[in-house]
């Protein structure tokens, strides 16, 4: 399908801004409006930013999305039961976990053309280990700053994490291909550059 000229004028910064909107909007909608645990859009936008825009932009998108949405969530009173020190500790784990996911997206995007269904499928598949890594990492952070000091073992935390990780995986494998498809459509298609034909004659 031909893309309209308007989309071709979108810059990388425009894409980053749209991704931040999707990330913040999705996270706040599911977290604070629908009250749905572990369905979120931040991991997807971080991976998409990495795959489509590169590692520098994934840092911008991830940090901006997490900073804005965390500020809103904590301003609404969430997490206060943990205390400020624990919130700061958990924040370090969640932000770095999302950055890992973004860098995984960047590594995947660098090696393939992102305008085919196959490529979107690969990105969706890569979101599975990215989500698992994120959940393993952040559950460790939760144990370190909240559950551990209350006497829970790390094994208990990982055991309790299982259903939430399954939901998080469902969230990632839906949002990564969904956003990937949207952004593959919005992004300018790579220009076809004909291979120069060898010319005859004296060197």
């Amino acid at each position: 399908m031909a893309r309209t000229p308007a989309f071709r004028k979108l810059t990388k910064l425009d894409f980053a801004f749209l991704l931040i909107l999707l990330g913040v909007g999705g996270r706040l909608l599911f977290r604070s409006v629908f009250h749905t645990a572990n369905i979120e859009t931040v991991l997807a936008v971080s991976m998409i930013a990495g795959a489509f825009l590169g590692w520098r932009y994934t840092m911008l998108v991830t940090v901006a999305t997490m900073a804005i949405s965390d500020a809103a969530i904590y301003a609404l009173g969430a997490g206060g039961e943990f205390g400020l020190a624990a919130i700061l500790g958990i924040t370090a784990f969640t932000w770095s976990g999302m950055l890992f996911a973004g860098f995984i997206g960047a590594a995947a995007g660098r090696r393939r053309v992102l305008f085919t269904t196959g490529s979107i499928a690969v990105l969706a598949t890569i979101s599975i280990p990215a989500t698992l890594l994120y959940d393993i990492w952040t559950a460790f952070g939760f144990w370190m700053f909240v559950a551990g000091p209350h006497g829970l073992s790390l094994a208990s935390v990982y055991s309790l994490q299982i259903p939430f990780t399954l939901i998080h995986l469902a969230s990632s494998i839906v949002f990564v291909p969904l956003f990937g498809t949207i952004f593959a459509w919005l992004a300018p298609a790579p220009e076809y550059i004909p291979t120069p034909e060898p010319t005859e004659g004296a060197p």
Binding site: A121, I167, A170, I173
Partner: protein
């Protein structure tokens, strides 16, 4: 013959939707289930807030989760409980206020322990057994 791009996209959409449904159903299997006890059990509860303490005990209750027993105590002792329902796929309740003491007031939050053990799941998913004692405390986060 390779599939056209639209057919590939349709196949991917079906695989994604089925996988997501499967994962959510699997998550449900891990959700603690509190089946109603065949006979009444003995439970006790203490609710502590600065300035007041409530105690409640029932030797023959069938409300065998921390949340249901809290609602039973609220009904008998005439105090109010407010909570937020977390939606599916992993439904749970989060207690916001008990007897007028609301989370965040004075930097305090409602937390609960069962037989001295800090609760690791939501109140409605915490299954109680005969002889259990629940402590609700309106306290500042202390990290243990």
């Amino acid at each position: 013959m390779p599939l056209p791009e639209r057919a590939k996209a349709a196949v991917l959409a079906v695989v994604v939707i089925l996988s997501a449904i499967g994962l959510i159903l699997a998550a449900q299997a891990f959700r603690p289930q509190a089946s109603a006890p065949s006979q009444g059990i003995r439970l006790s509860m203490t609710i502590q807030s600065p300035g007041w303490t409530l105690t409640y005990e029932n030797n023959d209750t069938r409300n065998n989760t921390a949340f249901l027993f809290l609602l039973e105590a609220a009904s008998v002792l005439h105090f109010r409980v407010e909570w937020t329902n977390w939606s599916p796929p992993f439904s749970a309740v989060f207690v916001d206020a008990i007897n007028g003491a609301r989370n965040g007031d004075g930097g305090r939050w409602w937390q609960f322990w069962v037989d001295g053990v800090y609760a690791d799941t939501a109140a409605d998913l915490t299954v109680l057994h005969g002889g259990d004692s629940v402590l609700w405390r309106f306290a500042t986060p202390e990290g243990g």
